[in-house]
């Protein structure tokens, strides 16, 4: 008689060992972006190319500001995680580690800069 359950014996035996959490995180952020992006495209597309006063007026309003902040944070997280998968596919060793650090840093810098702009416009 086996004392370990089937689940216990199977866990960690897959080729990748991990990944369920990553996949689920991508699924959740994808659904969130699917709901937010069309409206955000409309707002951002309208502001693009407009005079500065109009741009400031748009992003000073609560809805465009909050939506843009959400799209920034969620999409940059979605990018960092998705890009990590690409780096894992094409690089190994030090290049793999450096690549993951790079994509996460790039995503963080972009999100932080965008949020700074939104806060400064709101104040």
């Amino acid at each position: 008689m086996r004392y370990l359950t089937d689940r216990k014996r199977a866990t960690g035996k897959g080729a990748a060992h991990t990944g369920t959490e990553h996949h689920w995180s991508m699924t959740v952020s994808a659904v969130a972006l699917a709901f937010m992006v069309p409206t955000w495209l409309y707002i951002f597309g309208h502001a693009l190319g407009a005079p500065r006063a109009e741009v400031l007026a748009t992003f000073a309003r609560p809805f465009p500001a909050i939506l843009t902040a959400l799209v920034l944070v969620v999409s940059m997280r979605h990018f960092a995680k998705g890009s990590t998968t690409m780096v894992q596919d094409y690089a190994k060793g030090t290049a793999l580690k450096a690549g993951i650090v790079f994509v996460y840093s790039l995503a963080a810098v972009i999100a932080a800069t965008g949020l700074y702009a939104l806060i400064r416009i709101a104040l």
Binding site: T27, Y42, F44, F59, F79, L118, R120
Partner: protein
């Protein structure tokens, strides 16, 4: 086991999936395009965030960013990004559909690939008309 004894040399095996002789299909092309558009979108994101930050900072900074954004280069980047967004959007929805266990028959999968390609172009043109 024979390779392991005697010589420590690694056996050179061909790499899958044989890129030199690989026959591309709509399913593989539409899959790699998802990755390419996802990464290429960063060009539009960086330009967009720079433009927004310049608006927050000063008139001079905005004048520079606005000139770039409204130039042929800016229009090229944003139009390209718009298509990339819609492509990545449709391919992402397709991914969710696949994940739920649907649309995996070859005929359906191939059809969905074309839906992504054609649909993204249609949605890009529609967005350009509306916005």
């Amino acid at each position: 086991m024979a390779e392991a004894t005697g010589s420590s040399k690694r056996v050179e095996r061909p790499l899958s999936p044989h890129i030199q002789i690989y026959k591309v299909q709509i399913t593989s092309v539409s899959s790699i395009l998802t990755r390419i558009t996802g990464h290429a979108l960063m060009a539009g994101v960086i330009l967009g965030v720079w433009w927004l930050t310049s608006a927050a900072v000063s008139d001079e900074a905005f004048a520079t960013a606005n000139a770039v954004v409204t130039s042929w280069f800016g229009k090229l980047v944003f139009t390209g990004s718009l298509w990339a967004i819609w492509y990545h959007y449709l391919a992402g929805l397709r991914h969710l559909y696949y994940d739920a266990g649907h649309g995996l028959e070859i005929k359906t999968a191939e059809m969905l690939g074309w839906v992504c390609v054609i649909g993204s172009v249609v949605l890009t043109l529609l967005t350009l008309l509306i916005v």
